[in-house]
Symmetry: C2
Subunit: 218 residues, 2 copies
DNA sequence: TAGATTGTTAATCGATTAACAATC
DNA sequence: TAGATTGTTAATCGATTAACAATC
């Protein structure tokens, strides 16, 4: 998964935050915002916000600021949220179900076309009117339905195999929730959500804080 | 949530990855590893790995490398995984249940002491032998049981209120899955898992790639 | 001892911040 | 016009990489 774009990942990962905050203040009826105001809301510096936005174009107007709705839409387009993505969810456990049931993703254009599992008790059932199929059928399903994104919600042991099936089916991107890194062909994009890494980071910070407080007492 | 430590977050967020990979190769019976070998496995440079580890002490031995088990334990201790943390899960939907059921967290020392929800149909039930209580009781429960970490799995609308209840109860840290940033007193640590930001980043990369491929054709 | 590999300093690279001219 | 705020360049800061002496 090599990138050739000039936009750094640091910038890219801030875009969804801009998008979210702009959506929020837009809903509150605010239709004009300066980089300084955005700075207060988002916690990024005004300078950084202007730099980030200018990677993609001059969306603002000197002396005025940015139009909230326009900027929201622009960033939405940059993120590709103006398009529809076909997804499959692999693993129909709690996590898989949580993702299928989370309607915000669907509203944002990510439509679950099929759910896959190995458990015969679940296969054949429907979740939110989406059928649960046997993983056996996954590769053909991905190919025949031109699925864009595969969402891996299986236990660690199965994720590499699933990643290969998805890749063989011609998947474009994988959103991986399994606590393991997967190996896929270069052309397949991967975004990992490693929950335990996030929790362990929190646990580190908790301990660091307690150590610092302890040492400050002496 | 200000930090006063000299260790940068960039380093901190790599620690769980080192820990995971060391656990994996340890299980495979490997008991010695060089920074160069770790580099191949993790994708970080050998230089960076040595730099990172030396923030915490000289765990290696010149001419030899690192002892896998020792380093695994050292990093575990740095992450605070040698301790037990009492947690509460707020929101007993699919996501909350997924976290309660994920036994790896418990194995790592994060013990769920209570689950909280507002839905009367769920209150009183048990998930994995852990009782589901009314959110009304959350603040007292946190205080009386000296809960360390509150895990917010509620919809967006409720997360700020829950964060305040947890803070009032004297929580030390919050792991927030709600798609919104929460405001808490300075002494409360917060780690966010913003799933939609992760998905939108993937969607950005997908579009960027398609744009680049399109432009290369001409 | 010779070879290997760390720990650590110095060099480089990239990202963030500051500053200000352009302009609405 | 005067004030505000962008777009953009230059300066700073921090993180990564390279290099190598120390030493097992």
């Amino acid at each position: 998964m090599e990138r050739f774009s000039s936009i750094s990942m640091a910038v890219v990962r801030r875009l969804p935050k801009y998008h979210r905050y702009l959506g929020e203040i837009g809903k509150r009826g605010i239709n004009r915002v300066s980089s300084q105001e955005l700075s207060k809301i988002t916690g990024f510096t005004a300078s950084q916000i202007r730099q980030d936005l200018n990677c993609f174009g001059g969306f603002g107007q000197q002396g005025y600021g940015y139009n909230v709705d326009d900027l929201y839409k622009e960033i939405g387009n940059i993120l590709g949220l103006n398009k529809i993505y076909k997804t499959v969810v692999v693993g129909a456990g709690n996590l898989g179900q949580a993702i299928v049931n989370y309607s915000f993703f669907e509203k944002s254009g990510f439509v679950t076309k099929g759910i896959f599992d190995t458990n015969p008790k679940i296969i054949g059932l429907s979740i939110k009117e989406i059928k649960v199929y046997d993983v056996e059928k996954l590769e053909d399903f991905v190919r025949e339905n031109a699925i864009d994104i595969g969402i891996i919600c299986t236990p660690r042991g199965q994720c590499q195999k699933v990643a290969e099936i998805l890749s063989n089916g011609g998947i474009k991107a994988i959103w991986n929730f399994a606590p393991s890194d997967i190996k896929v062909p270069d052309e397949v994009l991967v975004e990992n959500v490693h929950l335990s890494e996030s929790l362990f980071t929190l646990s580190y910070l908790l301990n660091e804080k307690e150590e610092l407080e302890k040492s400050r007492k002496f």
